[in-house]
């Protein structure tokens, strides 16, 4: 029972209390880059979940053999190899998706969450908890991306998932899309607001 609880904690803690983006402030760069629209944000979220889970498992499997002084290089090689293979598979079997992902796939390699989780968790834990940790952190990351992208796309373009949601009549009465929302600085401000709300609910996170 205790073990199961620990696994559950590994899976769900990163979603809120230990969220990689809004608590550990990792992966902010890609959070700014891909959140202007909801769709790429979701695709990015899903790909990070997949790569993070598999990289965690692989590193966890070979963790006892990795020489300490080159462990970062080993992690990088594994992540980069994994990302390239995923990209190759996508171009062969899911060409349309791979076209959307083009730039994001390479962004995954440089995502700090990956290195963070591999170094902090997978290097010291068994494959199964590492897998859960990867999924959990991936979800935590994806969740923030989707929230930020929701507000940015809604207020910046008046659409959601590319579908117009702000009625034309609003525009006729003088409503205008907020151009600032689609620029990267606004992603940082929205993320900041999420952190603010999150911390005001979780008093123990306040410093």
């Amino acid at each position: 029972m205790a073990i199961q609880n620990k696994n559950l904690l590994t899976l769900f803690n990163p979603v809120s209390k230990d969220n990689p983006v809004i608590v550990q402030i990792l992966g902010i760069c890609s959070c700014l880059a891909v959140t202007a629209k909801l769709e790429p944000a979701c695709v990015m979220g899903v790909s990070v979940i997949a790569v993070l889970a598999f990289a965690n498992v692989i590193i966890s499997l070979i963790r006892k053999t990795i020489p300490t002084n080159i462990r970062i290089i080993v992690q990088l090689v594994v992540v980069a190899g994994l990302v390239v293979i995923v990209n190759q598979l996508l171009t062969a079997y899911q060409y349309d998706v791979s076209k959307q992902l083009s730039v994001f796939v390479s962004l995954i390699v440089t995502n700090c969450i990956l290195m963070g989780r591999l170094e902090a968790f997978a290097m010291a834990n068994k494959p199964w908890p590492s897998f859960l940790d990867g999924i959990g952190n991936g979800i935590g990351y994806a969740l923030i991306l989707i929230i930020v992208a929701f507000f940015r796309e809604l207020l910046g373009s008046g659409t959601l998932w590319g579908v117009q949601v702000i009625p034309q009549i609003w525009y006729d009465h003088g409503y205008a899309n907020n151009g600032l929302m689609i620029l990267p600085p606004m992603a940082l401000i929205v993320t900041g607001c999420i952190i603010w709300i999150h911390r005001s609910y979780n008093k123990d996170l306040q410093e």
């Binding site: 880059a33 891909v34 202007a36 629209k37 790429p40 053999t65 990795i66 020489p67 300490t68 002084n69 080159i70 290089i73 080993v74 090689v77 594994v78 190899g81 390239v84 293979i85 190759q88 598979l89 171009t91 062969a92 079997y93 060409y95 076209k99 083009s102 730039v103 940015r152 796309e153 910046g156 373009s157 151009g179 689609i182 620029l183």
Partner: protein, 237 residues
């Protein structure tokens, strides 16, 4: 064995790199034919998109052959030689000086019997290459449709060039104004073109990509100037 020793580290990394390298090459080699097919099918889809034809994934090839009746290779003097335009690497051609270019041209016949000339374009955006196809009416001047694509422009900003909101602006614009060849400009909203040429609105927040589109049109279409002129004059006679 001492895991911190230099020998262990070197052997470890050599094996790791060999394994990862082998895995990558096997994936790349075994998936190559599928990827090439996909890339070709995608190119056909893009060409058809410039004449407003949507091809289903399953029958891209047959749709392409149905509509694209002829393929030509255009030299800078404007002479069209029949040839395999599909195989030409536009990216390489547009880097050559104009007098050395061999540019591809697709002739499309629509269901209503109208003829459209499809011209491929290639250039650079902010982060990487951008490309597109523009279809021109039988008068050699008026744009019938345009299609733009990019490799990695910023989503929501430069990447908006691939949206219909941007590409439909080109429809009905002319490459010949006052009987002079003038490529279409991409301008910041509110500004007016310098030489009175036709223009479309740029993407807000995507200045460099928009400028890239403009110079791409300028650079690529100029290679077809003589050809379009000859099409235009034969039409007028």
């Amino acid at each position: 064995m001492n895991k911190q020793s230099n020998l262990y580290t070197i052997i470890y990394i050599v094996i790791l790199v060999a394994v990862v390298g082998a895995a990558l090459s096997i994936t790349a080699l075994s998936l190559k034919p599928l990827q090439t097919d996909n890339a070709n099918a995608d190119k056909m889809k893009q060409i058809l998109a410039s004449v407003h034809i949507v091809a289903e994934n399953s029958d891209v090839k047959s749709t392409f052959n149905q509509y694209i009746k002829e393929q030509y290779i255009i030299n800078p003097a404007g002479t069209a030689t029949p040839g395999n335009a599909f195989e030409i690497n536009v990216a390489q051609q547009v880097k050559l000086p104009i007098e050395k270019r061999q540019m591809p041209l697709y002739v499309c016949e629509l269901q209503n019997g109208e003829t459209k000339y499809i011209i491929p374009m290639y250039g650079g955006g902010l982060w990487g290459p951008i490309w597109g196809y523009v279809s021109i009416d039988a008068n050699g001047s008026t744009v019938y449709g345009a299609y733009f694509a990019h490799q990695g422009e910023t989503p929501g900003l430069g990447a908006e060039i691939e949206k219909p909101a941007f590409s439909t602006q080109f429809e009905g614009k002319n490459f010949f104004k006052d009987n002079r060849f003038q490529p279409i400009s991409v301008l910041k909203a509110g500004t007016k073109p310098y030489a009175g040429e036709d223009y479309v609105d740029a993407i807000s927040g995507g200045t460099i990509t928009s400028k890239g589109v403009e110079s791409m049109i300028n650079n690529t279409i100029t290679g077809y100037e003589k050809f379009l002129e000859s099409v235009k004059s034969t039409k007028q006679q």
